[in-house]
Symmetry: C2
Subunit: 282 residues, 2 copies
C-alpha cells in the first residue's frame, strides 16, 4: 500500500530512457502494484517482468482501454517522448473523438505539451502524479552527494547558472546550462543535455574553450512555474559520464527540482572522475 | 574627410573574419585614410594592399607603437578574437607596465572583455569607434532586404526571439537564437552562430526537429546595454548559407543593432534559397 492510499495499480506510461523502469521499481519497492504501458518506438527497457501492455503513440483509444482494463486510476508519465510529427501518429478508431484535445496537447513547447497531455488524462478521469510523487526516492536532494565538495567559485557558478536557467524558463526552453567562472559556455534548447555536453567537449577540442579541464559546471533545474508532474529534469550515471567527457568540474541541480537515477552509481562515477555533485537549495 | 573630422588615419585592429577589411574598404570609400593592424593568428584577409602592421596579440607595446607611428588617433576593433589562454600570450617588454590592466580586460564575458579592451585603448589616449560609426553603411537596416517577405508567423517568431535574446543578454551569453512557431530550437553561447546553425541542421537530420524545412527563424541582436563600439552581432552571405543548410525560413536582426557584410550578395543568396531577411525595429 502506497502513500497515495490506492489499491489500484500505479500506471506508468513509459517513454524513452531509464527512468520509467526506475520509477516502477521504486513504486514496487514501496509496496505498490504497478502496470506499465510502453509507448512503441520510445520505450527502451524490458517490460516482460511486469504487468504491461504496449501501444503506439497515436492509439489513444487502445491506451485508455489498456489502463482501464488494468484498473489503473493513478498515472505517472515518464521518459522522453520526442514531439511526434502529425504524420507519424497512427490514430485508431477510439481516438477519433479524442483527437482534437490530443492534437491540441501536441502544440506548444515541451512543457506545455506535457502539461496538456497530463490534463488530457485528467479529463479522462485519471489522477496524474509526478514521478517524484510516485517514487520520492528519485527526487534530487540538497547538498553534496559525492566526495568532492564544491569550492566557492563552483557555488557562485551554480547561483549564476540558476539565474540563467530561470531567465530562459519563461520561453519554455531547456532546463540546463554549462557555465564557468561567470561565463556561459552552453545553453540547452532542443538538443538535450547529452548533446549540449558533447558540444562543450568539442568546444574544448577545437580550442574555442581554452580553460583547462576540469572546469565548468552543468546546472539543471525545472522551468519556473513548470508542471512538476511531468518532465522534471533528470540526472544519472550517464550524465556524469557525459560531463566527464566535457571536462567539467561539477554537476549541480535545484534541490527537489530534478530526478536522480541510481544515486549510488552516479556518486561512484563522480568520485572516479573527481567531479562534485550537489543540490542547490532553491 | 570623414564624418569623424580627423585627418589622421583610422586605425583598424583586425581580428578574424571578413569584417575588418569590409570596414576598411567602407572607411576608405568615405574618403578616410586607413591603417590596418593585423593580429597574428587571427587576421584572415590580405593586408598587402593597405598601410599596415602585424603584431602578436600579447605584444601590447609593439601594438601601441605601431598605431602611434602611423599617427592613428581613432581606432576601430573588428573581427573575432577568441579569448586567449594566458599561456598563449607572448608579452613583450613594452607590455610589462600594461599587463595588469590588459589581463584584467581578459577576465569576464566576451562583452566585458571587449569593453575593457576598448577602455584600455582609451586610457592610452585613443578614441575607440564602433564599426558602425566608422562604416555606417554596414549597419543592418530595418525592414526586408530580400524578395521573400516575412509572413505573420515569422514576424511573431522575431518578437519571441527578441525577448529571448534580451533575457539571456544580462548573462553576457550569445546574441542569437533559432525559434519556430514559439518553440526554441537553439540558443547561442560560446559556440557561435555558425556552429549553432550546424546544430539545427543536425537536429533535423536526426529527427529531433521534425518540422519540415523551410521553417524556423534565426534572430541576432546585441545584448541589452552592450558597448556597441565592439562586437555588434554580424551577418553576411555565409550566414545565409548556414541558415539554408539548417533549413530555416528566415533571418532577422535588431535594426541598427547588427552589422551586415555585403548586403547585395546576402540578398542574392537569400533569394536563391527562398529565405526572408529583415530587420526588426527595436
Amino acid at each position: 500500500m502506497s502513500a497515495t492510499g490506492s489499491t489500484s495499480p500505479l500506471g506508468v506510461i513509459c517513454g524513452a530512457g531509464e527512468f520509467p523502469l526506475a520509477v516502477a521499481r521504486a513504486a514496487r519497492s514501496a509496496g505498490r502494484d504497478v502496470f506499465l504501458l510502453g509507448i512503441e518506438g520510445f520505450v527502451d527497457g524490458e517490460l516482460a517482468g511486469w504487468p504491461h501492455a504496449r501501444v503506439r503513440l497515436g492509439r489513444i483509444g487502445a491506451l485508455l482501454a489498456a489502463l482501464r482494463g488494468a484498473n489503473v486510476r493513478d498515472l505517472v508519465i515518464v521518459g522522453g517522448l520526442t514531439r511526434p510529427a502529425f504524420r507519424d501518429l497512427r490514430l485508431d478508431f477510439g481516438a477519433l473523438r479524442l483527437v482534437p484535445a490530443f492534437l491540441d496537447a501536441l502544440r506548444g513547447g515541451d512543457d506545455r505539451l506535457l502539461s496538456r497531455v497530463a490534463r488530457f488524462f485528467e479529463r479522462e478521469g485519471f489522477r496524474v502524479l509526478g514521478a517524484h510523487e510516485a517514487a520520492p526516492g528519485l527526487l534530487a536532494p540538497a547538498g553534496a552527494i559525492a566526495r568532492r565538495a564544491p569550492v566557492a567559485a563552483t557555488l557562485r557558478d551554480a547561483e549564476f547558472a540558476a539565474r540563467l536557467v530561470a531567465a530562459t524558463g519563461p520561453f519554455d526552453a531547456g532546463q540546463a546550462a554549462v557555465v564557468c567562472d561567470g561565463h556561459v559556455w552552453a545553453i540547452e534548447a532542443a538538443e538535450g543535455t547529452d548533446a549540449m555536453l558533447a558540444r562543450v567537449a568539442e568546444l574544448r577540442a577545437s580550442g574555442r574553450i581554452r580553460r583547462r579541464p576540469p572546469s565548468g559546471l552543468l546546472y539543471k533545474a525545472p522551468k519556473p512555474g513548470q508542471d512538476r508532474r511531468v518532465d522534471l529534469p533528470a540526472l544519472g550515471p550517464r550524465t556524469v559520464e557525459a560531463a566527464r567527457r566535457a571536462g567539467l568540474a561539477a554537476i549541480a541541480w535545484e534541490a527537489g527540482g530534478a530526478l536522480v537515477l541510481d544515486r549510488e552509481a552516479m556518486a561512484r562515477a563522480a568520485d572516479a572522475a573527481g567531479i562534485s555533485l550537489f543540490g542547490r537549495a532553491a
